[in-house]
Each structure stands twice: as C-alpha cells, then as structure tokens.
C-alpha cells in the first residue's frame, strides 16, 4: 500500500466520521501537516467530502415539524438586535484608529448590523497587537502579518465583488512552489476581514486571483492583485 493509498483510506474514513483511536489521530495529523501542501490530497478530500454530502440524498426528504422554523426565527433575532457593548465599541474604535479606518465604519448603526465584521476586526487587532504585526497592501486590501506566525489577516474596504460565480483566491509562493491558502468574498458593503492559517514556513510572494467558486483551485489563474513590499 502506498502512502497515498493509506492517506486516501484515512480521508475516506474521516469524511464519513468513522475513524477512532490511532486512525483518527493520524488523520488529524495529516490534515494539519500534509494535506494543506498536497494538491492531490486536497482534491481527494474535497471530492470525498462532496460524495459524503451527496449520500444525504440516499434517503427520502421529510418535512420537519412546522414549529421548527418559528423556533429558529426566535433565535435568529438576537444577531440583528444584539446590543452594542462598550467593550466591543472600544475595541472597534481602537481597530479603526490603528488601521486608519474612517467614515462608515464608525457609524453606530452600521456597527450594530455588522457585528460579525467588528468581531473579526477585533480578532485582527488582537493579533496585530500580540504579534507586532506589519501591514502591506494587496490591491484594495491590506495584509496584516507577523514574523514567526502561521497566520495572517486580509482586510479591505470598497473591495469590488468578483464576477458572478467566482471568488477571490489567495495564494503564497515559496521557492517556486505555489500554494492556495484560502478565499474571500466582499460583503455587500465591499468589506473583507478574513484570517488565514498557513503551514509550510515562510513565503516570498502573496497574490490574489479570481477563480470559479466551485472546488479547490489547483493552479492559479490570472493575478488580480499582488502584495507590494
């Protein structure tokens, strides 16, 4: 059995949620250490996940009780009406001050309705503070990164939406090897705040392409934006 034969077997068990013991530990290790850097394994994992989800169609659909949607609605409301906490506002204001944001972001109404954005910005702010991060432009977005961490953030305002059916894909290049690290899609206000976790050590280049919003891109398409030193 080749290594990849064994890995495929673990990935199959993983997507079915049927691994235990050493197999589960081994799968977790592979998903952290190997799969992110292996195009074949990423493709296999994506395909197996799709197969696993499609198996749901192997049973007949059944209408849930009529009470379920109203029950959900009652629990959705807090997100829209969540009160604005002083601590959150303080962090948001700090973020805005540090990264130089002005205008619409600080209008209270928008903070209320964009709580998740504020939360993401707060996380980014903490990351920047704790890691003495630097900021570099990547087209209309900005990368917040720090030496010695496997994470970075991208944020931006007035980021144009990509063409229908596509998303922005983020790539890094190291020693001639290009790796896909994730995606982003601006919200309706043109905002992007997203964290990326990468393995594989330092990289020299970071760039963004526009890719079809289906499946993991294996080869980068035309570069839309590139990090400028």
């Amino acid at each position: 059995m080749t290594d990849h034969e064994k890995i495929d077997g673990l990935l199959a068990g993983y997507v079915l949620r049927s691994l235990t013991g050493e197999d589960a530990s081994e799968a977790d290790r592979l998903l952290t250490d190997h799969v992110p850097d292996c195009a074949d394994c990423r493709e296999t994992l994506t395909d197996f996940q799709a197969v696993s989800a499609e198996l749901a169609l192997g049973v007949d659909p059944v209408a849930p009780p009529d009470t379920l949607l109203p029950r959900l609605h009652r629990e959705l409301e807090p997100r829209e009406r969540r009160p604005r906490g002083l601590a959150t506002l303080a962090v948001a204001a700090s973020v805005a001050a540090v990264i130089g944001l002005t205008g619409t972001f600080l209008q209270g109404q928008r903070i209320d309705s964009r709580q998740s954005r504020v939360d993401a910005l707060a996380r980014m702010f903490r990351f920047a503070q704790e890691n003495d991060a630097r900021m570099v432009s990547v087209g209309p977005a900005t990368q917040v990164a720090a030496t010695g961490t496997d994470e970075f953030f991208l944020f931006g305002e007035n980021v144009p939406a990509p063409p229908p059916g596509t998303v922005y894909a983020v790539w890094v290049e190291s020693g001639g090897t290009v790796r896909y690290v994730g995606w982003f899609y601006p919200d309706p206000d043109g905002w992007v705040v997203r964290r990326y976790s990468i393995g594989g050590g330092p990289y020299e280049r970071l760039f963004v392409t526009i890719e079809a919003a289906e499946g993991v891109p294996l080869v980068p398409g035309e570069v839309a934006w590139e990090r400028t030193a």
Binding site: R17, S18, V51, A53, P61, W183, P188
Partner: protein, 197 residues
C-alpha cells in the same frame, strides 16, 4: 452523469446558493428562509434516518441551521458548494447525536438498508426541488452500483453512524477489510458522482 439541461439546473442551483450565502453574510433573514426551504427536507430526512427519533432529528436540523446563521463565513465557496457544506454539517451533527445517545444497536438494523424508516411516524414526505430530484436519482443509482460488501460498510458508517471499528466487530471481519471496502466504495462513488454538484 446527468445530461445538458439537468446539468444546468444543478449548476444554477449552486449559483443561487452562492448568492443566498452572500446575503446570509449580511444577516439577511430572507436568505436564511430560502435556504431553509431548500434544505430542511433533505436535512430532516437524513437526521431522522440516523437518529430514528423526531425530537433528535429536529434538534440536529435546528443546530445546523443555527450554526449556518451564526457563522456563515465557515463556508468556503472555493472548497465546494453550499449544499455539500451544509449537508456535511447536518450529517456530522447527526452522527454526534447518535453516538451521544448510545442507542446505535437498534438503529443500525434500520440503517442497513435504504428503505424509509418506519418505526416512528415521521412528518409527511416532501417533494424534492427539481434539481435535488435529479441528483437523488444519480446518488441511488451510484449506490446500487457498489458491490454488496462495499454498500454495506458505507451504509453502516454513513446512515448508521458507526465507526470502522464497530463495523468490523459487527460484521466479524478485520478492520483492514472495512477500510479497504470503504475506500473502494468512496472511490467508485467519487467517479460516478463527479460534477455537477
């Protein structure tokens, strides 16, 4: 594989899902309702199949939709369709529920075939949206194409929520055989169910 116009219907549905996800990111309750209308039937059917109890199935679907609402950014459009993401979420939660409840033995008997569960009286069946009906036929054909051995381990894992070790014990076969059959089944389904998704 489906032909021409059916491919288009499935891909259109994926694009519509993407738009609904974009609206969900903005906190649009209307988009949430549209997704509920699309996927509550298939989700509840799956959850009910795994858990065998209406209350548990309802909790699974409830938790999955609430998770989607609270963290829509967890879905990465570059890694597949929203349907794949969401149905995986439902399945994982259903499996976790089954294991928590530790009532697998009885349920596995029912999970060993693809006939509708009849122990409890479920809510009324629903009619698929057209594109899901197309895909449903493909999935069932693909499952029928597996060998009996492959189908058995896959169904025990997916619809029964059993671990590979439990399957080996139940069937009295080596764990390695379960792994081999599972991988063979998944590879065959991967080929048969390749895009559009």
């Amino acid at each position: 594989m489906v032909a021409g116009c059916e491919d288009g219907a499935v891909q259109d549905a994926a694009r519509e899902d993407l738009e609904l996800h974009r609206r969900l990111l903005a906190g649009d309750v209307g988009a949430f309702d549209d997704l509920y209308e699309r996927y509550s039937g298939v989700s509840y059917g799956l959850a009910y199949r795994l858990t065998g109890q209406q209350m548990l199935a309802q909790d699974v679907v409830h938790d999955a939709f609430l998770a989607l609402w609270r963290a829509p950014e967890a879905f990465d459009p570059a890694r597949g369709t929203l349907r794949t993401f969401f149905l995986s979420l439902v399945h994982h939660r259903a499996v976790d529920t089954v294991r928590k409840e530790q009532r697998m033995r009885d349920r596995n008997e029912r999970a060993a075939n693809l006939e509708p569960v009849a122990v409890e009286d479920p809510s009324e069946s629903v009619v698929d949206r057209a594109y899901l009906g197309v895909r449903r036929r493909e999935v069932r054909e693909a499952l029928r194409s597996l060998s009996d051995d492959q189908r058995q381990v896959l169904q025990m894992a997916y619809f029964g929520g059993m671990t590979q070790a439990q399957i080996a014990e139940r069937l009295e076969i080596p764990l390695g055989t379960v792994k081999t059959r599972t991988l063979a089944a998944m590879r065959k389904l991967r080929g048969l169910l390749e895009a559009p998704v």
